[in-house]
Point group: C2
Chain length 390, copies 2
Amino acid sequence: MIIKNAIYYDGQRVVRGDFKNGRSDEEFDASGKLAFPAFNNGHTHLAMTLMRGAGDGEKLQEWLDNTIFPMEQRLTPELVYKASMFGLLEMIKTGTSRFMDMYYFVEETAKAVEKAGLRATLGTPITSFGTPYYRDAEEALRMAEERLHKGPEGLVDFCVAPHSIYLCDEEALIKAKELADKYGVPLTMHVSETRKECVDCHRKTGMWPVEYLDRIGLLDQNTVLFHATWLTKMEVRILADRKVTVIHCPASNMKLASGGVMPLPELLEAGVKVGLGTDGASSNNSLDMREEMKIGSLLQKSHRWDATVAGPRTMMAMATLDSKDLAFVSLDDVRMLPRHDLISNLVYSGGTVTDLIVEDRVIMKDGEVLTIDEERVKKDFLDAAAELLR
Amino acid sequence: MIIKNAIYYDGQRVVRGDFKNGRSDEEFDASGKLAFPAFNNGHTHLAMTLMRGAGDGEKLQEWLDNTIFPMEQRLTPELVYKASMFGLLEMIKTGTSRFMDMYYFVEETAKAVEKAGLRATLGTPITSFGTPYYRDAEEALRMAEERLHKGPEGLVDFCVAPHSIYLCDEEALIKAKELADKYGVPLTMHVSETRKECVDCHRKTGMWPVEYLDRIGLLDQNTVLFHATWLTKMEVRILADRKVTVIHCPASNMKLASGGVMPLPELLEAGVKVGLGTDGASSNNSLDMREEMKIGSLLQKSHRWDATVAGPRTMMAMATLDSKDLAFVSLDDVRMLPRHDLISNLVYSGGTVTDLIVEDRVIMKDGEVLTIDEERVKKDFLDAAAELLR
């Protein structure tokens, strides 16, 4: 698409003038708007919009045991579809065009993403303990392979998503990596989110989590690790050497009181690829990447006693990692004024996203979502939430 | 005003039914909306919207010396009026009806607040070193008294605002308190914002800042202290004994890397009155109290390694301290769904404020600001920002 009359942040500088994005020669008038790479939400559990606000303020393990797991026992494909559609609505309205998701019933989320017109990489969480949706890791891996065998669907592709070192045994982790390599897709998992996880791993294996994952062969340029809050210097080195991608989830880590803070300056200094993610709407409780950038920047500055780290351009680079699409905000938005520094305004002050273009398709125009019937999606979602509580 | 068909958060519970706010018997239809006490922004420098985004990422002292102070040399009454109007627009749109401000040219900000229809307590910062706007503390105190002598103006009243212990000598601080007591108005000041300030005070006086302020007689129920990040247990005790109000400014403290984190659980446990503030738009960079509640909650949970502290109801109580007005969000806002916990949604997920009622007057109705010509205010503000840079 040809973007006309643009003021555009190309990831380095704010530039003026027309430019091309995608393949089409159709024109899009961007007068009065700032264009920037649409957000890539690096870690989500999309359908958990259903649980937003449930059990807030409980400790992590109690919250999972008392609130989340009982609700997840009652999921159906239909509930996941409705909750995914609703999550996509929030993503579109906040300028996200792409995300990496770990949740049940990936076929349903895939259908929703196709309908909404976004990009996603989806994986069913694999655990060794089984869930209502599969008996054990073997069955989960077989389901994952069936999906991978069918191949990507439009802008949606699939990955292999072992949940974590504490919910997967070593055999399951190794088989997951073999499966990911067989199909050339990413392996994604949670790692080093809590201190307990790290200490338990060290007691059991004599190694810290990233060291352990490296020893069993899970780490390479196709590995994506979520959270990574408690890392040793040696682990930072390993992540750099193996070219692993890590996803920072500051709001979720803070809300669940993980205690650890991702050593972002060290990771960036070592050349590690770092993205940004909101985690599920149940532990954040929003899917807004703009807000996540601000919280991430503030957390790093505060934790490091250093106002110069994690500036707005660093946060934008993380939040738009591998972005191919475009989002827009109005240059007249109260939050975007004055114009001393548009990128600082975007990160710290905000500004309502007005438009979103994905792969030559206008998904939202002047605040109106074109691919989704907003009222219908909200109604379906409320029905789904009511059904979950029944 | 009679609020009809309401779902209302009264500060304790979410209740249904009509209720009265203010004196008028006029009716206001709140169908489909959540009503809640409008926000009270406990610490602002309103006209610093002019500097939003300028010098982001500089260290505190360099930022003040290189960016803020040179800009502040060039302020005029007209610039302050235009910048205040613009800041009020952002406040109205984000549900704030009341604030406590410390900045130059209070008459101009007072005019703007009256025009916008909000409530405010305003004070000129008093320093012993002079500014372009007065020679020394004596002149600043004389200006403050002149203003106090004229009395409040509508919903705007005035306070005495010595800047801090590091910009005021002891004589100025004591005279400021005498002046505040003479007129029965609050004394407001920054305190214990940085570790340096605390250590310098201890070196000079042998006391920590709150202890020192108590010793020279500045602390009572009419004292409001901003920041209070580095506090000893003894100082928490003093604040409780003297019935001082303290204002938590989490985003500003984090962004400027103050390092310290207000000991909120201890303050609340001791019975200290704690409010919430954004600080100026130049160090936040927003005036949005909803965002401030989320950041404050996350900071406390993260810092304390305890997911149970600083929950959504605590944050709402702080953000709406002494509120007399009403704000509304749509119950159908994507961010307010599902409805497991409306207050958790409001604090962590957001929701666009649609309406604001102050003292029986509708200030914003269905997203339209009724007291301010939005386009005119934005244009004037951009002119002001351009003039400041000239």
